[in-house]
C-alpha cells in the first residue's frame, strides 16, 4: 500500500523552544489516521507543515510524493482541508460558497454538498456568519465531500460542536471514506470521537512519537493494572517496561505493554507487597491518558 503522507526527520522550533525533533510518520492510502497528543505537543504545527503554511527547520513532508512546501495545484485539488474551528468564508451564504468552490474543481459534486445542507434548517440565502458552529461544520464538510478529494486533512474537527453534530460529522465522514477508499489524517481533542472514526493512531508527546499503530493493536497490547499497596510508603521505581504510574496514596494504576506475570514478578522481586491486583480494560481515552500522563 502506498504512503499518501510521508514525513521524514521533521524538526521544528518556535524561537529556541523545540516542538519536535526527527519526527517520522506515514499515512497509508485508504487509512484513517488520528494524530493524538496533549496541548502544545505540536499537532497544529504538524498540520501547518503538511499544508505548506509553515516551513520546518529540518526534515520534509511529502503528500502524494510532492514536497508539502511546494504543492502543485493538481495535488492541492486532491486534498480536502478542514481548518480548526470549521473556518470558512463567513461573508458568503451557503449558495454563494458552493458556487465559489465549484469553479476550482472539475469533478465537483454539488449533490453531495446539498444533501448534507438539506439536513440543516437553513435557507440558501443564509450567511455562514449567522450559523451555529454545528451548522458551519456541516457546510465545511459538505464542501469537502463535493470536492471529492483523495486525502482529507481535518484539524480538530470536534471543536465547538455539540454531541449530536459531532456524531453526525463522524458517521458521515467514516461512511464516505470507507465507501470511496479515501485517506484521512485528522486530529481532535475529544478522544472518544477519534475512537469512533480512526483505524490507526499516531501519539506524539513532547519531542517524540510514542506510538504509531492500529487502534486495535494499541488497545490490545497496552495494559493497565490496578492494585493496592500494603505499605503506603513503598517506592515504585520506574523501570523501562513501566510507561506510566498514577498513584493516589496506596492505590496504583500502572501502565505497560508487559504481561500481568511480568508486573507481578517485578513487584515480588522488589519486595513490594500488594493486593487487589487486576487488569482494567481501557478505551482509547483511558489508554491515551495512561500513556501520556494526566499532567
Amino acid at each position: 500500500m502506498n504512503n499518501v503522507i510521508e514525513c521524514n526527520d521533521l524538526t521544528h522550533f518556535y524561537g529556541e523552544k523545540l516542538v519536535f525533533e526527527n519526527l517520522n510518520f506515514q499515512v497509508k492510502e485508504g487509512s484513517i489516521l488520528g494524530l493524538l497528543g496533549k496541548n502544545g505537543t505540536g499537532k497544529t504545527t504538524a498540520f501547518n507543515i503538511l499544508n505548506g503554511f509553515l516551513q520546518p527547520r529540518g526534515g520534509k513532508c511529502f503528500i502524494f510524493g510532492e514536497d508539502t512546501q511546494h504543492l502543485s495545484p493538481k495535488t492541492k485539488a486532491r486534498i480536502g482541508f478542514l481548518i480548526e474551528g470549521h473556518i470558512q468564508y463567513s461573508f458568503m451564504n451557503i449558495h454563494q460558497i458552493e458556487k465559489f468552490y465549484s469553479g476550482f474543481y472539475p469533478n465537483w459534486k454539488p449533490a453531495a454538498y446539498w444533501e448534507l445542507i438539506s439536513k440543516l434548517n437553513v435557507s440558501p440565502g443564509q450567511k455562514i456568519s449567522t450559523m451555529s458552529c454545528g451548522q458551519r461544520s456541516q457546510v465545511a464538510l459538505g464542501l469537502i465531500l463535493a470536492q471529492d478529494p483523495d486525502l482529507l486533512i481535518l484539524d480538530d474537527f470536534s471543536m465547538g460542536l455539540d454531541p449530536g453534530y459531532r456524531r453526525l460529522f463522524i458517521d458521515y465522514l467514516r461512511e464516505y471514506a470507507k465507501a470511496e477508499n479515501k485517506t484521512i489524517f485528522t486530529t481532535s481533542h475529544i478522544i472518544q470521537d477519534m475512537e469512533r472514526l480512526i483505524d490507526d493512531l499516531l501519539i506524539i508527546d513532547f519531542n517524540r512519537v510514542l506510538v504509531q499503530s492500529s487502534v486495535n493493536e494499541f488497545l490490545g497490547n497496552f495494559r493497565r493494572y490496578d492494585f493496592v499497596l500494603e505499605n503506603e510508603e513503598a517506592d515504585l521505581k520506574r523501570k523501562h517496561f513501566i510507561l506510566n504510574i498514577e498513584r493516589v496514596k496506596n492505590k496504583v494504576e500502572l501502565y505497560t505493554y508487559s504481561t500481568e506475570s511480568d508486573v507481578k514478578k517485578y513487584l515480588t522481586d522488589n519486595k513490594i507487597l500488594f493486593s487487589n491486583f487486576r487488569q482494567v480494560n481501557m478505551g482509547l481515552e483511558d489508554a491515551f491518558i495512561g500513556l501520556t500522563g494526566k499532567y
Partner: protein
C-alpha cells in the same frame, strides 16, 4: 473558470464598500462644482478666476483625501476578512498557484478602484469643461492625479500591512507607508506635480506587488 471564482469572492467582499465609496466620490464631485457654480453666480467669474489663479484657493482641494479613503476602504474590505482566523489559508489551499491567486485578488481590487477613479476623473473633467477652459482643467487634472495615485498606493500598502503576520512588522510598514503617502499629498498648487507625476506613477507600480512579501512570510510561518 478559476479566475471567475476568485473575482466572484472578491466582489462579494468589496461590493458594498466599493459602491459606497464610488457614490460618495460622485457626490464630492457634484459638491465641488455646485460650489463653483455658486461662486460664479454670487461672486462673479472675475473673482472666481482670481481666487484660483492668483490666490491659490483651489476649488478641488476637498477632493484631496477622497481617493485615498477609497483605497483604504476597498483594501480593508478585501484583505481583513482573509486574516480573521487566518482564512487566507483557505485561499492558499485552492488548486491554483499561490502568487497567481493573490495577484488575481489584487488585480480585481485594483481594477475596481481604477473604475471608480476613472469615473470620478471623467466627471471632474466633464463638469470642469463647463466652467473653465481646457488649459485650467488640464492643470487641475495634473494636480489631482497624485491623489488618485495615493489611493492606489494606499490600497497596495494596506494589503501589505494587513497580510503581514507579525505586529511589529505591521507597525514598521505603517510608518513607512505613511511617509510614502505623504509624498503624494503635498499642497495643491495648480499643476504643481507636472514634473513629478511620472515618477510617482513608477513608485506606485513598484509598490503594487510588495504585498506578495507578506504572503510569503505568512506561508513560511513567521509570527
Amino acid at each position: 473558470m478559476m479566475w471567475k471564482s476568485v473575482f466572484y469572492k472578491e466582489w462579494l467582499k468589496i461590493r458594498w464598500f466599493w459602491l459606497g465609496y464610488t457614490t460618495m466620490a460622485i457626490f464630492v464631485i457634484l459638491y465641488l462644482f455646485l460650489t463653483v457654480k455658486h461662486s460664479f453666480a454670487f461672486t462673479g467669474g472675475k473673482n472666481t478666476w482670481n481666487n484660483i489663479l492668483f490666490l491659490g484657493n483651489q476649488f478641488f482641494s476637498p477632493l484631496k483625501f477622497v481617493p485615498l479613503a477609497g483605497g483604504l476602504a476597498v483594501a480593508l474590505a478585501q484583505y481583513f476578512p482573509e486574516t480573521v482566523n487566518k482564512r487566507i489559508k483557505l485561499t492558499l489551499h485552492l488548486p491554483i498557484k499561490d502568487n497567481k491567486v493573490l495577484l488575481l485578488m489584487h488585480s480585481f481590487g485594483g481594477a475596481c478602484l481604477m473604475i471608480s477613479y476613472i469615473l470620478t476623473c471623467g466627471l471632474f473633467a466633464g463638469f470642469g469643461l463647463v466652467y473653465f477652459p481646457v488649459q485650467i482643467v488640464t492643470s487641475c487634472m495634473i494636480s489631482i492625479f497624485p491623489w488618485f495615485l495615493a489611493g492606489l498606493t494606499g490600497y497596495f500598502l494596506i494589503a501589505l500591512i494587513v497580510l503581514e503576520p507579525n505586529w511589529k512588522f505591521r507597525i514598521y510598514y505603517s510608518l513607512i507607508g505613511g511617509f510614502f503617502l505623504s509624498i503624494y499629498l503635498k499642497s495643491p498648487v495648480l499643476a504643481g506635480y507636472s514634473h513629478a507625476n511620472s515618477g510617482l506613477f513608477i513608485l506606485t507600480a513598484l509598490v503594487s506587488v510588495v504585498f506578495l512579501f507578506s504572503a510569503y512570510r505568512f506561508k513560511k510561518g513567521e509570527v
